[in-house]
């Protein structure tokens, strides 16, 4: 970002930007501003301030914490939060462990390709496979429980309010582990071998070496993985749409899916805009945190 490049001033260069600028203005910038704008108005185009936001936050499908702690449905906002609390550490650490193990193992690229497949898989396909995996009678999870002889655990996990959300969260670790793995792999490749030789001479145990040398040096990668993973978890939509439609009831709904329901099922554009703006605010908050860290460096 701080790279200074100098050169030639060539003529009429703004002309070259214009197609990209026109596209972004029309299809990105203007719609975002329009969404923010209508989030402050009622369907009859009266200015209501934060009215839509209060309205949305008071709804059970967005925030339902009465009698907390309890099982889902807890509302989309809490569901997204649970997604971050469970999915982020799981996918991040499994990716980190894999990257460290695979650093100097023969045939590492084969393992990496198999694991990264989850990142390439369309999320719609991921959702279908998750649903299938947890389905009673046909899915692999239940085939596994049957083999173990715990048949009472063999059930359609996505069909019960207590387990639907968690089935999707745990299942989606499979899709995203590849990301943290390749980012950490790239980071590990930048650590000079001498550091480890020095640590060895000093008689440091592998654990000590990892926590004193490797992990601190991977901090930029950790920041990247945490940021991008949180963004992914905030935008979760396809998986929920295809695996459970947010159900049963509201038990596995998330903000992005709820926004879609408000807009395209209820045709309540103002409430939808409030959810969308709120979501954008959350992602910007996370992003700005990352950019500030990058610039400080």
């Amino acid at each position: 970002m701080t790279r200074r490049k100098t050169i030639t001033s060539l003529k009429n260069f703004p002309l070259f930007f214009s197609p990209a600028i026109i596209l972004i203005v029309f299809f990105v910038a203007y719609p975002v501003l329009q969404t923010v704008y209508i989030s402050f108005f009622s369907p009859t185009e009266e200015f209501v301030g934060l009215g839509n936001y209060f309205d949305v936050l008071s709804r059970k499908e967005i925030l339902n914490v009465e009698g907390f702690p309890k099982w889902p449905p807890l509302g989309a906002l809490i569901h997204n939060l649970l997604w971050i609390l469970i999915h982020l550490p799981l996918s991040m650490f499994s990716g980190l462990v894999l990257a460290v193990i695979l650093r100097d193992v023969k045939g590492a690229s084969i393992v990496k390709s198999a694991i990264f497949l989850g990142m390439v898989t369309p999320l719609i396909v991921g959702g279908i496979i998750l649903r299938f995996t947890f389905e009673r009678g046909v899915g692999i999870v239940n085939a596994f429980f049957n083999v173990l002889g715990v048949e009472q655990l063999a059930r359609t996990w996505t069909a019960y309010p207590e387990t639907a959300l968690f089935a999707l969260i745990f299942g989606s670790v499979w899709l995203w582990t590849g990301f943290s793995m390749i980012i950490y792999s790239a980071g590990l490749a930048t650590i000079p071998k001498e550091y480890y030789e020095a640590a060895k001479i000093d008689g440091a145990t592998p654990f000590r070496t990892f926590f004193r040398i490797t992990f601190p040096l991977l901090k930029p990668m950790t920041i990247t993985v945490v940021t991008m993973t949180i963004l992914w978890e905030l935008k979760i939509f396809d998986i929920v749409f295809v695996a459970t439609r947010g159900g049963p009831g509201w038990a596995s709904t998330v903000l992005a899916y709820q926004m879609w329901l408000y807009a395209f099922r209820d045709l309540n554009f103002n409430n939808a805009a409030a959810v969308a703006t709120f979501l954008t605010f959350l992602t910007l908050f996370v992003t700005i945190g990352m950019i500030r860290y990058m610039v400080r460096r």
Partner: protein, 280 residues
């Protein structure tokens, strides 16, 4: 890190287990799409579609054929707008990257920020106004609408990729051409573009997969005949019970192009992810 001998054996067993565990979903997808509905219920998804003692009552091509017939139109739609938007977003990203790295001008950082901000905007933030804009342009339920949308949302990442790459092209090369009297466009076409194969491959592979995999824009901007494969697949369920073999057949058809690209050019795809994330 050196592992002791016994540790190494355990390690390899563990890694092979990992490969199996991560490939299992794809495997169950393949086996299921070759089974009859009875086969799906009688066998576990891990088993190949061979009946008890290989008397072969279960294997069938029917789910794959039926799924293809349902999805062929949408697969063609997806292919059309994906390739078009891929090419457009790569070209625009390349031009942006060139201007941003090779020309000094006031506010170039602002322009760059403007181009890349789209990476972080959740698509939900644009959906409703986007549908209205497309209707006004007559592009609602039209592949052109999807092409423009995917091109616009591809610009951030392609600009980033090309900017990183063009930063490595020596400025003296551009200077020399300028002294010879070449203009902005000529320099791009004669010098920059011929050097750009590597970033074009990375950007194209990355764009193809992400546009092909998209569901949200497709479901919001199109209906019926013009829907992309992702949307048709999401609606591909039986009326009362889910026909898992048909659904898995459709899944295979839909995932096929991306799987092929991943097998052939997976290395470049990973590079795209890393460039987008590490240098962001």
């Amino acid at each position: 890190m050196r592992f002791p001998k016994l540790g190494r054996v355990t390690l390899y067993i563990l890694l092979i287990f990992f490969i199996f565990a991560f490939l299992l979903p794809l495997w169950t997808c393949i086996t299921t799409s070759f089974k009859t509905l009875k086969g799906v219920i009688d066998t576990t998804p891990v088993e190949p579609p061979l009946g008890p003692l290989f008397r072969l009552p279960y294997p069938t091509m029917e789910p794959l054929i039926t799924a293809f017939n349902i999805m062929k139109r949408s697969l063609l739609n997806s292919f059309t707008f994906t390739v078009a938007a891929m090419i457009l977003s790569c070209l625009l990203g390349s031009i942006n990257g060139y201007i941003l790295t090779k020309i000094t001008f006031k506010g170039s950082n602002t322009v760059f920020l403007f181009f890349t901000i789209g990476i972080f905007i959740p698509y939900q933030a644009v959906l409703v106004p986007l549908v209205l804009t497309m209707s006004k342009l007559g592009l609602y339920n039209h592949l052109g609408g999807l092409i423009l949308t995917h091109t616009a949302y591809g610009i951030p990442i392609t600009t980033l990729l090309f900017r990183n790459f063009y930063g490595l092209i020596p400025n003296s090369l551009i200077m020399a051409a300028k002294t010879d009297g070449a203009g902005t466009w000529t320099i791009y076409r004669r010098i920059v573009l011929p050097l750009s194969l590597p970033p074009f491959v990375v950007a194209a592979v990355f764009q193809f997969t992400s546009i092909w995999n998209d569901f949200l824009f497709g479901v919001v901007l199109t209906r019926g005949q013009n829907q992309p494969a992702s949307v048709v697949l999401a609606n591909l369920k039986g009326t009362t019970t889910v026909m898992w073999n048909l659904l898995m057949g459709g899944t295979l058809w839909y995932a096929l192009p991306v799987l092929v690209i991943y097998l052939v050019l997976g290395k470049y795809l990973m590079r795209g992810y890393m460039a987008g994330a590490v240098k962001g």
